[in-house]
Amino acid sequence: MSRPRHALRAAGVAALVVVAAVLPSFISDYHALEWATVGTYFIALLGLNVLTGYSGQISLGHGAFMAVGGYTSAILMAHHGVRDLWTIPLAGLVAGGAGLLFGLPALRLSGLYLALATFAVAVAFPALVKKFEHFTGGSMGLILNLPKAPGGLHLSSNDWLYYLSWGIGFALLGLGALVSRGRIGRSFRAIRDSEVAAASSGVSPAFYKTLAFGISAFYAGIGGSLVAIETAYVNPQTFPITLSLFLVVGVAVGGLGSLVGCIFGAALIEFLPTVAPDIARHAPSAIRDQVTPSVIQGLILVLVMLILPGGVAGLARLLENRALGPRFER
């Protein structure tokens, strides 16, 4: 990548970090919690991006990996009294392990079949959760202690959650960028573009595809863990099939393969229900009642796929090319 482009990108990310750091001082406590939730979706979307955008595998069931992470944290906290912070990496690892386990048989599936299988996982998962009532609290779920900032920091609990989510989020973003630039990232892209070519260059599709599942599930698990901590409650409906689908909407609209586009996708998922009534106001009165958040989500996904398959990130790349001239694909 050329110097000016590199600088532009780095400046953009730096600006985002600065904004994120000071945002809570400018917004209400309630909004801080909303943005904290955006952070959890952001982390899950980062993971989904690794899978779909980077290694070209589809998952319509990432909510299930979030659920694994969320329930791991919840079980550790509720049954074993573990401190919320320590459960986060554990949740990630358990979810990551589940991802690796799923990734192995998933090797045999591709494209449509994988989409089908992951969709089925997401639909069936709540039933599994209810089955193992002993651990998961069944339909009633698990109630957890309310989150509290650690003693030394004088933060409201919402502000603490905000910094927790985004701190982890940016750390994982950095990790993701490093991975993407390094050998693993190149191997992912090689496999996405052509498995046969990758294999003949010594890149094992089986290894990297499974690894992609593991990494993306790890991220999702951390996101799920944060959801559990923030809401202080989990039950089978905390991670429904619609969450998995909205994650897909988020990553597609943000832009597949774009780490920063995930911020946009996450914001879309969180704020659309709030913004929807305002959008609906612009619709003709005859159909105003019909313009609900789900309808708008679905419409956005359909329109984006029809008109702008690169999502928001694709649009950004277009503008970048206009400003700096086209860049050759690595």
Binding site: A120, L128, V248, Q290, M305
Partner: protein
């Protein structure tokens, strides 16, 4: 022993419902190469339409056939407006479009009719009939009958009519079809219309049993996927056989294995999908796919 046969018949009834929706999925997959994730929601929407017709005075069967016509038209419209523009794009794009449709249609259903669970009238009485000393539910037999009728009508259409032949040809070899004058893109729209009507049959048969609510078909969709995969995604006969088999299998498992009752059937369905895709991806009756390099 009597219970066994009752459960088999009940399983065939569920199987008929899965088979109709599975056949719809296979129809679209064969003609356009796409898995329509929104098939269940389209069926739910159609079923709500039927409910609305009955609410406005139509009796069951007139509402049924009117709904089939509307579902057909809806399917054609969706193919023309939403699917045609992305016909030649990569798989992921088309999958995402059908997911978008899923979310959109589900949202519309909720917003138009509200999320409350409703009763849906059944055209069949719930009294049992006795055959060889065993009590069978008329409703189950009725569902089997309607599902089979729908499948047979569709099969006859494909086998004996010119249009059905053209649809088969378009699915098998679009280039050669154009050379004999078949308007291939309209055949695809026709396929979507028929699939949508089949989905409506499935929805209207299951609604009396599980009650009408916007998320009614999500589980059924999973079973339909399992049935289609079991039978072979490109085999219409496989979808029907797969559906009936799955229905009976899940019902028997649910009755005789206590851990697998109720919602755990979803997990059993998932297990079927994973097992078939891993062990024999082409299913029972499908063609073994040549892996394109």
């Amino acid at each position: 022993m009597a219970e066994f046969w009752q459960q088999v018949v009940a399983g065939l009834a569920s199987g008929g419902i899965y088979a109709s929706l599975a056949l719809a999925l296979v129809l679209i997959y064969r003609s356009t190469g796409v898995i329509n994730f929104a098939q269940g929601e389209m069926a739910t929407f159609a079923t709500y339409l039927a409910w609305t017709f009955m609410h406005h005075g139509f009796s069951f069967w007139p509402a049924f056939f009117l709904t089939l016509v509307c579902a057909f038209a809806g399917g054609v419209a969706i193919e023309r407006v939403v699917v045609r523009p992305v016909e030649n794009r990569p798989v992921l794009t088309v999958v995402l479009v059908t997911i978008g449709l899923l979310v959109l249609i589900n949202g519309l259903t909720s917003s138009i009719w509200g999320g409350a669970v409703r009763k849906f009238p059944s055209p069949f009485s719930t009294r049992p009939i006795h055959v060889a000393g065993v009590a069978f539910s008329i409703q189950d037999i009725g569902i089997i009958g309607v599902s089979l009728a729908a499948v047979l009508v569709l099969g006859a259409f494909f086998r004996f009519t010119k249009l059905g032949l053209a649809l088969r040809a378009a699915a098998v070899n679009p280039g050669a079809s154009r050379l004999v004058g078949v308007r291939v893109s309209w055949m695809l729209a026709l396929g979507w219309g028929l699939a949508s009507a089949l989905g409506a049959v499935s929805g209207m048969m299951v609604a009396p049993v599980v009650f009408l609510d916007p998320n009614m078909m999500q589980g059924i969709l999973l079973y339909a996927f399992a049935a289609a995969v079991l039978g072979g995604l490109d085999s219409p006969l496989g979808a029907v056989v797969g559906g009936l088999t799955l229905g009976v299998l899940l019902n028997l498992l649910g009755t005789y294995v206590s851990t697998l009752g109720g919602e755990m059937r979803l997990v059993a369905g998932l297990a079927v999908i994973l097992a078939v895709l891993i062990v024999r991806p082409s299913g029972l009756l499908g063609k073994a796919a040549v892996r394109r390099v």
